[in-house]
Amino acid sequence: MKAPVSRAPLLPFAATTLLLLLNYPWLSLFDSKHLVADIPPLFLYLFVLWLVFILTVRFLLHPGPVDEGDSPVRPRTGTDKARGNRGA
């Protein structure tokens, strides 16, 4: 099975990106009095960004279960089997 690679080293980059997104000039893009679906665009932007970032951090700190995906695991087992047959 392929060892899960730590994604934690990406955290500083994620944080830096958020820091940039949370400041000028990004904020000015959403700094408007015109409501979007009755919500102030700035409010919407900040809270959605916040939630996305939380999920990103969760993703980076929890390498998903490796055997679930369509994964590099399967071809590997195939070769093992083939090798076994040749041996027999």
């Binding site: 934690a8 955290l11 500083p12 994620a14 944080a15 958020l18 820091l19 949370l22 400041n23 000028y24 904020l27 000015s28 700094d31 408007s32 009095k33 409501l35 679906a37 009755d38 919500i39 102030p40 700035l42 409010f43 900040l46 809270f47 916040w50 939630l51 970032f53 939380i54 999920l55 951090v57 969760r58 980076l60 700190l61 929890h62």
Partner: protein, 922 residues
């Protein structure tokens, strides 16, 4: 329903519940079934970050600045993403060093400096007082509000007398509660499981209460958030709150708030307490890194709707800081109002309990104990300190500290706090806590940071903080002339606290941040670069920076304690601080882990690190600086002062350095020895070869010499020998002499070949001609033995570059060998020459007895001769083929044999044709 007795009873019930939770958690901890050892409780305990400021103040602030309250929560979200990298390291270090507080951490990093821990403690206490006073203000205001129900305003008027002031009683109540909570017993690790469980519960409670009010206002009083925002957008004043227009200080303020809250989430003393000191397992950070931001998001989602709702529904005289309470009150939702009030109380008490415990630990460990232990000499100290269990004494100091801190906070509230909004008070503390960030963050990643650098940086940051934030606050409250703020100190305009050196565009907080932090960092780094760290600083710097480079216990660590201390006296000292039982347990564990038996080992020897272990145990109770002083009392006559310790460290590190050099040298010698051994083996082998050679050659020389001597003696002793006999003997002597000459010539040739001493004269030579000459040279021999010699040459000349004489020697040798081994008169020898583009090959084919395959390899070695069973040893030195091989190989060619018994022998040699084109001549 909201009468004073109901409110008081509710508070009492709530605090009772908290106490029960703490009691159960402590009980479970003792049984080893920890209630708090999971990431969720850990996350909730970190949520002590959300205080009355969040609960009441955020709404108040949002009512003035719109989304301006958010950076205080976005900063921690950013920082939480880095916890796995930064906070985990701090937690790791703290566990190894048994750190009890943020002051202890900074002090330990910089060589367990008492000066530095003292300074950090002072900054923490002075800096955090406003924050605690904020909680007092929030709780007392909300209490007064409820008392005044159904009125929605705090009655204005002169401050009541002390014994009529609600805030005073709240301060006392909180002090009593905190003392009960945090100082019931002393723990070696300074961890308070009961407190953490209670704080976690409070975090749930305040979140639920706030969300309840938020949902009630948004969905009951209004038609969902859209409704509130729509109504607000219609009002030009409120519409400003939906954008960044209302934000004082604009983007600069936004950024600076984010930065200081990033540091606050780690370096506020209470955050350090819950996140670092109370951490049970580093792995919990993995969950907390995203769960805590999620908590922040939830508790903030209704802040703006509540602020706008309050502004839309309540009239302008109601303080926005009280909206969370006054909105339900205005609707006569008394139960919800009570829930909101208790929610506010939970937010405030959580902060006060943890902050005062953290500060009291610092005051007792880093200020009072070291001062007591240092100013008095040991003997006096013994008189002063009661013998026996010192832990009770430490507890008393802590309890006193808690009371003093809360009374000071109350004083701040009375003197200054009443004229400020909640958030403004809290931010002052944030900036103070941010001053710790450089010393800690630089300290755990850069070994070069020194005690002096940290001291100067912190001091400068603290002074700037005091000048730009505390001083104006005192002036505005009328305790100092207001002219200091308006005209600058002594009327010097560049010294205006809110516009230092003309930096006037910023709000006070941003202004203070942008002055204090860069100067703090700059001084820390530059002073560190130009100061020499002492050795204990270097040791600690390594321990901190290389925290994750795991060192085996006892290896690479230097035990600074030297001299003789008995295990019993050490244990007794530890027991005085931790209590008998805990000391016994800790020592047994040490013995178990390191495989000791204290019955055999009564002396705590330096290499065992037992004394350092004891020191850390004591440090867990009274801090690193005091623990060092206490341990030093054990060494009485042999006590080392700090200079001695430094000398020892110096010496030790020199020894370590020296031994490194020795190791390096040893490695070099080992390599040299291996080379010498190989050379020696080679020499011995050569020596053996030489011996073999000499003995063989002597043997070969002796045979002809013996016959020469024998026949000569016969001729000498018998002068009248017959003429033909005499002739025969003389012929033998001549033959044998010739054989000797040949042998000696061969040996000389071989020696020259081996030593590469031949004079080679390479020239283009016609090999056909050469072989022809060779057959002429051996003609006589073939004639004598009656052997027929045939040649088989190509028509053209066969040119190759070679030493003619030597190759001639080879061909003659091969032809003579063939003649020697062929049967007389029936012998047939054929010499043939072939040429292709690259090689010329000569083959000498005979019909002799043939050579078994097992001899083929050895045939070309020196003195190897194939003995024939019938004929015995053949004539010759046994060197001929070895010489041939040497000559051919010198030409870059090859010589080999193809033969089998009864099938004759074919000796081949090939030479490379270096000059193509010369071979096709006529």
């Amino acid at each position: 329903m909201l009468s004073t007795p109901v409110v008081v009873v509710t508070i009492a019930l709530y605090l009772g519940l908290l106490f029960a939770i703490a009691f159960v958690a402590d009980h479970r901890a003792k049984q080893g079934r920890s209630l708090i050892a999971n990431p969720y409780i850990y996350t909730l305990s970190i949520a002590v970050y959300c205080t009355a400021w969040t609960f009441f103040g955020s709404v108040g602030w949002a009512a003035k600045t719109g989304l301006g309250f958010l950076p205080i929560y976005l900063g921690p979200t950013l920082m939480a993403a880095l916890w796995w990298l930064v906070l985990r390291k701090i937690v790791h270090i703290s566990r190894r060093q048994r750190i009890t507080s943020i002051a202890d951490f900074i002090g330990s990093r910089y060589g367990k400096s008492a000066q530095l821990t003292g300074l950090v403690t002072v900054i923490a206490v002075v800096g955090i007082l406003p924050y605690i006073s904020l909680q007092l203000k929030a709780v007392s205001n909300s209490f007064i509000l409820l008392q005044g129900y159904p009125a929605l305003e705090v009655p204005v008027g002169s401050s009541p007398l002390l014994w009529h002031d609600t805030a005073f009683y709240i301060a006392l109540l909180l002090a009593a509660f905190t003392i009960l909570f945090g100082t019931r017993h002393i723990d070696v690790s300074e961890r308070h499981e009961g407190m953490v469980a209670a704080i976690a519960f409070e975090s749930i409670f305040k979140l639920v209460a706030f969300l309840a009010v938020g949902l009630y206002v948004t969905f009951h009083l209004f038609d969902g958030p859209g409704d509130i925002f729509r109504q607000a957008a219609h009002d030009p004043e409120l519409a400003k709150l939906l954008t960044l227009e209302a934000l004082p200080g604009g983007y600069a303020s936004w950024l600076s708030l984010m930065l200081i809250s990033m540091s606050a989430i780690l370096f506020l003393p209470r955050q350090f307490q819950v996140a670092v000191v109370e951490n049970v397992n580093e792995e919990h950070l993995r969950q907390a890194s995203w769960l805590f931001p999620l908590y922040l998001l939830l508790i903030n989602i209704f802040v703006l709707p509540l602020a706008l709702g309050g502004l839309l529904l309540l009239d302008g005289s109601v303080d926005p800081d009280t909206f969370v309470l006054t909105l339900p009150m205005a609707q006569q939702a008394e139960g919800l109002a009570l829930l909101a009030f208790i929610g506010g109380v939970s937010a405030a008490t959580g902060m006060v309990i943890v902050a005062t415990i953290a500060l009291a630990t610092m005051i007792s460990n880093e200020l009072i104990l070291p001062t007591l232990l240092r100013t008095r000499r040991q003997e006096e100290a013994k008189g002063l300190l009661p013998e026996g269990d010192l832990s009770r004494w430490v507890l008393r100091i802590r309890r006193g500290s808690i009371l003093v801190i809360l009374l000071l906070a109350y004083l701040y509230f009375r003197l200054i706090g009443e004229s400020y909004a909640l958030v403004s008070i809290g931010l002052v503390s944030f900036v103070a806590a941010a001053q710790f960030a450089p010393a800690i963050l630089i300290g755990i990643y850069w070994k070069g940071a020194t005690r002096q650098g940290a001291l100067v940086g912190l001091l400068a940051g603290f002074v700037i903080w005091g000048y730009t934030l505390l001083l104006p606050a005192l002036a505005k409250s009328g305790w100092l002339p207001i002219s200091i703020v308006e005209e600058g100190l002594f009327g010097i305009a560049v010294l205006k606290p809110y516009a230092l050196f003309g930096l006037a565009e910023l709000d006070p907080i941003t202004h203070a941040v942008f002055w204090s932090l860069p100067i703090n960092i700059f001084l820390l780094v530059t002073v560190s670069l130009y100061s020499n760290p002492s050795l204990i600083e270097k040791v600690q710097a390594r321990e901190f920076v290389d925290a994750f480079k795991d060192v085996e216990p006892g290896r690479g660590r230097i035990d600074v304690w030297r001299g003789t201390v008995t295990v019993a006296s050490l244990k007794a000292l530890v027991a005085r601080f931790t209590g008998e039982e805990a000391a016994e347990r800790a020592f047994n564990q040490f013995a178990l882990e390191r495989g000791f038996n204290f019955e055999d080992q009564t002396i705590a020897e330096p290499h065992t690190h037992l004394v350092s272990y004891g020191e850390r145990l004591i440090a867990g109770v009274i801090g690193a600086a005091s623990a060092r002083v206490m341990i030093s009392t054990l060494y009485k006559g042999q006590t080392l002062n700090i200079d001695d310790v430094m000398d020892i460290l110096d010496e030790t590190s020199q020894v370590v350095e020296y031994s490194h050099q020795l190791e390096e040298k040893t490695r070099q010698y080992e390599a040299a020895t291996a080379k010498l051994r190989a050379a020696n083996e080679r020499l011995q082998q050569l020596d053996r070869l030489k011996d073999d050679f000499v003995s063989t050659v002597s043997h070969e020389l002796r045979t002809p010499l013996t016959s020469i001597r024998a026949f000569s003696e016969i001729l000498l002793s018998e002068p009248d020998l017959e003429m033909d006999k005499r002739q025969e003997f003389l012929q033998i002597i001549v033959d044998e002499s010739q054989r000797l000459t040949r042998l000696i010539n061969d040996v000389l040739d071989l020696a020259k070949l081996d030593a590469d001493n031949f004079q080679w004269t390479l020239a283009d030579t016609d090999l056909k001609q050469l072989v022809h000459d060779a057959t002429k040279a051996v003609y006589q021999l073939y004639q004598e033995r009656g052997i027929r010699l045939r040649t088989e040459f190509p028509d053209a000349r066969v040119m190759a570059k070679m030493d003619r004489d030597r190759i001639l020697q080879v061909v003659i040798n091969l032809l003579s060998n063939a003649a020697k081994f062929c049967p007389e008169n029936r012998g047939r020898v054929k010499v043939s020459l072939r040429a292709d583009a690259h090689w010329v090959t000569v083959c000498v084919d005979d019909n002799g007895p043939g050579i078994p395959a097992s001899f083929h390899d050895r045939l070309f070695d020196k003195f190897q001769q194939v003995e024939d069973e019938q004929q015995g040893k053949p004539k010759g030195s046994g060197l001929g083929l070895a010489i041939c091989k040497g000559i051919i190989e010198h030409h870059g060619g090859r010589i080999w044999v193809d033969s089998a018994p009864g099938a004759g022998s074919r000796f081949y040699f090939s030479l490379p044709r270096r000059q193509s084109g010369a071979d096709t001549g006529p």
